[in-house]
Structures are given as structure tokens and as C-alpha cells.
């Protein structure tokens, strides 16, 4: 697998890395999980830089780290292919398309949003986006309930009350959930030790 990387001149490697991540990022709508399938197609199937099993591991890592999945995956692939320089190139390739597009949009937004026709279209689309988000929430929530873990369900309800009713800072809620996770590790570890005795 790494043969392909070793045999390619470094400049060509970096250029391929940049153009691939730029292209993938440009045409990926709908967030992180989608981008990983595109990356697999490019880096595993076409360029043979990474094998399939490793790509799955990278995807798992990208999803479990903080930040955008697309950026995390670019960091991992770039690092794997060409070290720190590869990482920088892959990240720039990934963030440039959304940066360019949103810069253009935000320049026009003020003029755009005050146009009465555009404002009506945007208001209609807001109803659509609320539906899209709450549809995703229903699927994710059903997934949590299907785990049949009392702890997960209690955490979900408690976090909802904290954010929506009590207005607790989002960061504290995430930290609290992470602490519960650390507590769970400690309890599991103690249980395992007791079991060993």
C-alpha cells in the first residue's frame, strides 16, 4: 500500500493530496459521514494510498475526535500520506471550498436578505431547515433509546432539560457528560477487579 506513496515524487503527492481534498470538499453536501465515503473511494480505491481497514480506523478516529469530521479525516489522511506538510495541505484543501463559498455569500447576504422576495424564500427555507434538524434528532434519539441503556436515556433527558429549560452553558453539559463517561470507566474497572478476585 505504502509503495504507491513511496514511488510518487513528493511534489506530485502533495498536489494530488490538495486537489483530491479540495475536490471532495467542494462536492460534499451533508456533512461528515458522506465525506468519508468519498475519501475512501479516492484514497483507497483510486490512489491506493491507504488500505480499506485502515480507512475504517481513520473514520472512527475522525468521528470520535472533537471538531468537524471532514477536517479530522483530512488531518489523518494528510498525516498518513506525507507527515506534517501533508496534514497542512489536506486541511487547507478541505477548508478552502467552504471558506470561498461562504465569503461570497456573506458579502451578498446583507443586500440579499433585505430584498423582500429573498426574505420570503429564506423564511420558507427556515421552516424546512427546522424540519431537517428535528428529523435528524428523531433518528438519533431513537438510536439512543434502542440502546436500552438507562444511563443513556437519563443523560439525554437531563441534557435536554439543562439546555432547553435551565439554559445551562452547552460546554458545561458536554463536560458533565464526559465526566459521567470517565466515572463509568472507573466503575467498570472496579467491577472487573472485583470479578477477578
Amino acid at each position: 500500500m505504502t509503495q504507491e506513496i513511496a514511488q510518487t515524487p513528493k511534489r506530485k503527492l502533495l498536489w494530488q493530496l490538495f486537489s483530491s481534498t479540495f475536490y471532495i470538499s467542494m462536492f460534499t453536501f451533508g456533512g461528515g459521514f458522506v465525506i468519508i465515503t468519498f475519501m475512501k473511494r479516492k484514497f483507497v480505491d483510486t490512489l491506493h494510498w491507504i488500505d480499506e481497514k485502515e480507512m475504517l480506523d481513520l473514520a472512527a478516529l475522525a468521528q470520535s475526535s472533537p471538531g468537524a469530521i471532514a477536517v479530522n479525516a483530512a488531518i489523518l489522511v494528510g498525516w498518513r500520506v506525507c507527515g506534517a506538510l501533508g496534514m497542512a495541505v489536506a486541511v487547507v484543501g478541505t477548508i478552502l471550498p467552504p471558506m470561498i463559498i461562504l465569503s461570497v455569500i456573506s458579502l451578498f447576504y446583507a443586500a440579499f436578505a433585505t430584498n423582500p422576495y429573498v426574505a420570503l424564500v429564506l423564511r420558507g427555507m427556515q421552516a424546512g431547515v427546522a424540519a431537517v434538524i428535528l428529523d435528524v434528532v428523531c433518528s438519533l434519539g431513537a438510536g439512543v433509546i434502542k440502546e436500552r441503556s438507562a444511563l443513556s436515556i437519563v443523560l439525554m433527558i437531563a441534557a435536554f432539560l439543562a439546555t432547553f429549560v435551565l439554559d445551562v452553558n452547552v460546554v458545561y453539559i458536554i463536560l458533565a457528560a464526559a465526566l459521567v463517561g470517565v466515572g463509568k470507566i472507573l466503575v467498570l474497572r472496579r467491577a472487573r477487579k472485583e470479578g477477578a478476585k
Binding site: 470520535s64 467552504p98 461562504l102 436578505a113 424564500v121 444511563l151 470507566i185
Partner: protein, 191 residues
């Protein structure tokens, strides 16, 4: 200069605490740019999420660029985006090293299993406040203030997504067109 630092610090927190991808960043962005800083109104934030949905790229990067450029120009966009990806750069490379050393991390899975339900609840909270903007706009939350067109479009869109499994971008576009059409029919051409 102060604004640039604030932008950097705000989006650093977005990058650091959004775990799980996709919509996980949304409640954090809302907290930073609507609640803790007067950078966007809830209605502008909802427009931003709509735009982010219709364009490629992660919501966090889209938001950092949009907010950064409106608050402090192109430099603001670059600073906010850099703040957003800096935690990833550090943490992902450390996790990758640990991962390749031990091949799998059992503890991480356990922590994530507790984070997931909380993140779902946070996304629900952000989604409901967006729904609130759709139903009530900037007016008080009361039954007589409900925007019936918005409510009708929301119910139709939810049905199309949930039961008919339509594509989200298609649903949002149709909502935009329908919103324009219905309002023109009801109120005539805007002045």
C-alpha cells in the same frame, strides 16, 4: 484586535467541544454567536444554518467564515476558521498516535457512549429554538403570534422527510419556493 481575539476564542470553543460531527457543532455555535456575543440575531443564525445546509462543507467552517467576515472582514474569517480547526489539529494527531500504539481505545468508546445522548439532546434544543424562530419570529411565544404559513411548511416538510424520505436539500428548496408563493398569494406583492 479585541474582536479578532474574541472570534478566535469563541470558535476555538466550538472546535474543541463539538464531538460527533454533523449537527454537533450547531448548539455550540448558537451559544457563542447568538447568546454570548451579539454577533447574529436568532433569525440570522437560522439563515446561516440554512445556507450551511445548502452549501458544501462542515457547519462549523461555514459558520466561522460567515460570522468572521461579517464581524471583522476577511481577516475575521481566517482567524475564526483557524480557531475552529486548531483543537482538531492538536487532538487528532495525539489520538492518532495513541490509537496506532494501542490499536483501539476502549476507554474512549465508553466516554463517547455517554457523550452521544447529551449531544443528541443539545441538537434537539438548538433545533427547537430554530423552530421557535420559524413559528414566532421575533415576537413573543404565544398562540396568537404563531406564523401559520411557517407552521404549515414545517409540518409538511417534516412529513416529507420522515415518512416519504425526501432529500433534505429538495425539501428546503421546496419550502423556500412555497413560502414565497403562499405569501404572495395571501398578501400580494411586497411593497
Amino acid at each position: 484586535m479585541m474582536t479578532l481575539l474574541e472570534l478566535f476564542w469563541s470558535f476555538l470553543q466550538v472546535g474543541l467541544f463539538s464531538i460527533g460531527g454533523g449537527y454537533a457543532a450547531m448548539p455550540l455555535i448558537q451559544a457563542q454567536v447568538v447568546e454570548q456575543h451579539p454577533w447574529l440575531t436568532m433569525s440570522e443564525f437560522t439563515d446561516l444554518i440554512t445556507i450551511a445546509e445548502m452549501t458544501p462543507g462542515p457547519i462549523a467552517i461555514n459558520s466561522a467564515t460567515f460570522v468572521g467576515i461579517r464581524i471583522a472582514g476577511l481577516g475575521g474569517a481566517v482567524v475564526a476558521t483557524f480557531g475552529c480547526i486548531l483543537p482538531s489539529l492538536l487532538i487528532v494527531s495525539i489520538l492518532a498516535k495513541i490509537y496506532y500504539k494501542y490499536k483501539g481505545a476502549k476507554g474512549l468508546d465508553t466516554v463517547l457512549s455517554c457523550l452521544r445522548p447529551a449531544v443528541v439532546a443539545l441538537i434537539a434544543g438548538a433545533g427547537l429554538s430554530i423552530l421557535g424562530t420559524v413559528l414566532f419570529g421575533e415576537s413573543a411565544v404565544a398562540l396568537q403570534n404563531v406564523d401559520l404559513v411557517g407552521a404549515g411548511l414545517f409540518v409538511a416538510a417534516f412529513f416529507a422527510l420522515r415518512k416519504l424520505k425526501w432529500n433534505p436539500i429538495l425539501v428546503m428548496s421546496l419550502c423556500g419556493v412555497a413560502g414565497l408563493g403562499i405569501n404572495l398569494l395571501l398578501h400580494g406583492l411586497p411593497a
